[in-house]
């Protein structure tokens, strides 16, 4: 019973949070671009989310006749499901988490993030549209190359904590947050995380300016809405992972653990939005070169130095 309450509680909070993030993102972008953003509907524009929801629900849910129907319908479900399921492994506080995964929670989350690329690929392929296909191709290449050091950059953390269990990883940061000894790993993981959920500096699969909307060009109504919310769930997931793995999760003085976790996650979400406001999208070849020639060697270097130091002591 308690377990069910937790499952639905976390699910509900996540989905509502992801929907609210659309408003948060627009307000924050407005703040950083010296304008207001949505501020008309409700107090400070908060009901904008509801208005958008109503609008998007009443749009025609069109499945293009030239599309591959099954894949087209399945694609948005995959991104939402895989990213939501990944949250099951994240320990929010010592009391609140769904399932510790027998000590391999980290692997589970990484697996789920990898699965989420199928939604992009499937959506792009099933749309049977040039823009979508190019977006999907980019998504595959980006995912393949950034997946490599998404995992590798975390191995330093795993080595130091001696565990794949996220609770033990958090517990191991009681003295010092891993962001200090694992700074390289932190930077590489954050970059790879942004690329994995294709957020703005690395949003090449979407790339409004070149591919109209990339892989979800053909999507409308709530299917598009799910892609949209799925992206925000991805942001929350990567932020929560950053907070858990490098910034000590729920650990912190004075305030209750839940508040610490939310503060850290929220700070990363805000930082991701800041990145969107600040950075231009790199060219495709630049993205690849940046990944393979800079981040991968950095991740490997970080891993080897960490291993060497741990062996020596």
């Amino acid at each position: 019973m308690m377990g069910l309450a937790k499952v639905f509680g976390i699910l509900l909070v996540l989905v509502i949070l992801a929907a609210l993030l659309t408003w948060v993102e627009r307000r924050l972008l407005g703040l950083w671009q010296d304008r207001y953003g949505p501020n008309r509907v409700g107090p400070a524009g908060l009901l904008q989310v509801v208005a958008d929801m109503i609008k998007i629900l009443f749009k025609e849910d069109w499945v293009p006749p030239f599309s591959d129907r099954l894949g087209f319908i399945l694609a948005p479900a995959i991104v939402m499901a895989s990213l939501l399921v990944a949250f099951a492994a994240i320990p929010i506080t010592p009391d609140i988490d769904i399932w510790p995964m027998n000590g391999i929670g980290l692997l589970f989350i990484l697996a789920m993030i990898s699965l989420s690329v199928y939604s992009t690929v499937l959506g792009g392929w099933a749309s049977n549209n040039k823009y979508s296909l190019v977006g999907a191709l980019r998504a595959v290449a980006q995912m393949l190359s950034y997946e490599v050091f998404l995992g590798l950059s975390l191995l330093g953390v795993v080595l130091q904590a001696q565990s794949f269990d996220l609770r033990q990883i958090v517990a191991a940061q009681a003295g010092l947050w891993f962001v200090v000894p694992q700074f390289l790993g932190f930077v590489v993981f954050m970059t790879a995380g942004i690329a994995a959920i294709h957020r703005l500096p690395f949003d090449l699969p979407e790339a409004e300016s070149e591919l109209t909307a990339g892989f979800h060009t053909e999507y409308s109504s709530m299917k598009f809405g799910i892609f949209f919310i799925g992206e925000y769930v991805g942001i929350v997931l990567v932020s929560a992972m950053l907070a858990t793995l490098f910034f000590g999760g729920w650990l912190g003085p004075v305030l209750p653990p839940l508040l610490w976790f939310l503060t850290k996650t929220g700070a990363f979400i805000a930082f991701f939005i800041l990145l969107r406001a600040a950075l231009p999208r790199p060219r495709y070849d630049q993205l690849m070169a940046f990944g393979w020639k800079l981040l991968l060697p950095l991740a490997l270097l970080n891993l080897m130095v960490t291993a060497a130091i741990l062996l020596a002591t």
Partner: protein
Amino acid sequence: MYSLLRTIWLIFLHLFHRRVTVEYPERKAYLAPRWRGRIILSRDPDGEERCVACYLCAVACPVDCIFLQKGELVGGRWYPQQFRINFSRCIFCGYCEEACPTYAIQLTPDFEMSEYDRHNLVYEKEDLLISGVGKYPGYSFYRVAGLAIPGKDKGQAENEEPPFDPKRLLP
């Protein structure tokens, strides 16, 4: 790499900048007196219509949004029987105002004329005609023009010399 970090920092500092947005319906932006907005037809100081139905505005209009129909009063004065401006076409270029020889048609600093129905943007003469003189107080076309109308013969207009008598031999 440094430039990326610097960009992020500079954008972050915008948190403390003043917003440039003017929140429109609550705060209105300043409109210059010569702002080209909603078009009106003005009257001269005597309260008569200034428009003499010369069609110059309709000819000058690049989008053909002005329609008018000439009528003639008993004394020979022309006036528009109909005057219609389709504001869904109007581009507020002000050429009609430039073309008008009598200062009748004028553009005003008002742009709040949105409608839900396109047909409501077609303004008829009674919508366009105002009771005042607009931007040119004191100007009356017939008082300065050489045209003879009842009550004002040739040569009686302001600054007008008496008509030249071709049968007189003196220079």
